[in-house]
């Protein structure tokens, strides 16, 4: 497994630097989002890095190599999901470094700190987006599934905006009020467990579907 993760990070090392640049760009672009800035900056970068890793695999005919080595297909699929978590952590670290640097520089640009809620919501969003995309990738390969990648990418942003707008417009409705009150009343540890648990559950279901497809795939 460590060899697979080593390979994943080596393959996208140049794109990691590009990811750092994108996060800086998003900090500029999302000044009005305040504490939601972290989510808006890290979510697309982690997703794009995961996609780059898939593209590199296809470009190098990686599946031929990986399936000729003494590796189970389970390990190959699992490595992609673990890589996703690593990429999310790397993107978060990049944001944190930029946050410290921008605040230390004392310039007019503002970078907002990372909150626990922000971190967990961003992870949930990244987990959800990739959980939708990865099964298609493992079934069809990158080339045939890349359109879907962009659909998921755009749908995620449009979906988050649509849900936010809907909730804002229907604040008065009892079920919306009940739901918001439920989350507001949740103690922080419970909220953390809920968000992490939900993210992991989504990833686990997606992993099962991806594994089902990949074990049946031919190269």
């Amino acid at each position: 497994m460590l060899s697979l993760l080593y390979k994943e990070l080596l393959l996208i090392r140049r794109q990691l630097l590009l990811g750092l640049a994108f996060i800086l760009l998003f900090i500029f672009a999302f000044q009005s989002l305040e504490e939601k800035m972290f989510i808006a900056a890290v979510m697309p970068v982690a997703y794009l890095l995961a996609m780059t890793s898939c593209a590199c695999e296809e470009k190098n005919r990686g599946d031929i190599l990986l399936n000729s080595l003494p590796l189970s297909r389970k390990a190959v699929v699992l490595a992609k999901y673990i890589t996703l978590v690593l990429l999310f952590l790397v993107a978060s670290l990049f944001y944190y470094i930029l946050y410290l640097a921008i605040n230390a520089a004392g310039i007019s640009l503002r970078a907002y700190p990372i909150t626990i809620e922000g971190l967990l919501i961003a992870f949930l969003a990244v987990a959800f987006m990739n959980s939708v995309y990865f099964p298609f990738y493992f079934k069809l390969g990158y080339i045939k599934s890349r359109m879907l990648f962009f659909v998921v990418f755009l749908a995620a942003f449009a979906g988050i905006a649509a849900i936010s707008n809907y909730l804002a417009a229907h604040q008065g409705e009892p079920w919306v009020r009940q739901m918001l009150n439920f989350f507001a009343a949740l103690p922080q540890p419970a909220a953390i467990v809920l968000l992490v648990g939900f993210s992991l559950l989504i990833l686990l279901i997606s992993y099962g579907i991806s594994l089902y497809f990949y074990t049946r795939r031919e190269f």
Binding site: L10, L11, N60, I64, L69
Partner: protein, 291 residues
């Protein structure tokens, strides 16, 4: 000791091609040349052995073990060299080695370093910067560094210059000396096999035409040349016939039988593997199908 590779009634269907009940075996200590024209089913057979394709029916045993149930164990003992590079182009030789070394249980770093030196491979060069010959040598270095007992090679010499091809063949001949390892070598360049193969398996249109020791094949087959009038008898004994203005040339699989039919009225020559392959696989071979 049992067969190192044993295939029985292996079948696989695609919309435009079918591998039909392929069977053969390879014992340790031998090199088997797997020959056939392009599209005959060589790569399909290799992909099925490596479980890159899923078989429809049949049995594949490697080291006496089922290739699916013992996949990891088997692949730890298989070295592979494919016709096209399958290593990550963006990684350096050293990075790529680090990745695969962590995956094989029996990685021998000393052996890899010896291979690097022998093949003159630069450790800091990216895989994409290596020539085709160097990429093949890198594949071979990886295959030789985890103490593989079976080397599976799919058209390893295609696109290589004669010098590199000759080097590769020397390495393979050396490797087989300990009589424990086996090499399964697919190619359509049969001259490579004239030098090193012990067994020849010919596949055409998804079907195995024969799997025999090379020496037996070359001793029993003969290229017969004579006047056209001689074809009034003996045509049915020919694998394939080429007729031209001045006479005919035919491949027979029974040299003694041919001499009995035509006697000294024909010239009898020893065929090359290429000629054997061509006569067996030509669609307009002018003879009744021999098999």
């Amino acid at each position: 000791m049992g067969a190192i590779l044993e295939i029985k009634n292996l079948s696989k269907s695609f919309p435009n091609f079918r591998l039909k009940e392929v069977s053969f075996f390879l014992n340790p200590g031998y090199i088997m040349g797997f020959i056939g024209p392009n599209g005959a089913g060589k790569s399909t057979t290799i992909k099925l052995i490596m479980n890159l394709l899923r078989k429809d029916a049949g049995e594949i045993k490697v080291f006496g073990l089922d290739h699916l149930r013992h996949e990891k164990e088997i692949k730890n003992r298989i070295g592979f060299v494919y016709d096209e590079n399958c290593f990550y182009e963006e990684l350096t030789v050293s990075e790529m080695k680090n990745m695969v070394a962590g995956i094989y249980k029996t990685w021998d770093e000393g052996a890899f370093q010896r291979c690097l030196k022998k093949f003159d491979l630069p450790t800091n060069a990216k895989i994409k910067e290596l020539s085709r010959g160097m990429k093949m040598k890198f594949s071979l270095a990886v295959a030789l560094s985890h103490r593989a007992d079976l080397l599976i090679m799919d058209e390893p010499t295609s696109g290589l210059d004669p010098l590199v091809r000759s080097e590769l063949l020397e390495i393979l001949a050396e490797l087989i000396q300990d009589e424990q390892k086996g090499i399964f070598f697919s190619t359509h360049v049969t001259s490579d096999l004239d030098k090193i193969a012990d067994y020849i398996t010919l596949i055409n249109d998804g079907r195995i035409l024969f799997s025999k020791p090379k020496d037996e094949l070359l001793e029993t087959h003969a290229l017969v040349k004579g006047g056209k009038e001689l074809l009034s008898k003996g045509r049915e004994n020919c694998i394939g016939i080429r007729e031209h203005r001045y006479g005919f040339e035919a491949l027979v699989d029974n040299r003694a039988g041919a001499l009995k039919i035509w006697g000294d009225r024909v010239a009898v020559e020893r065929p090359t593997l290429e000629e054997i392959m061509l006569y067996y696989t030509r669609r307009d071979n002018g003879a009744q199908p021999a098999l």
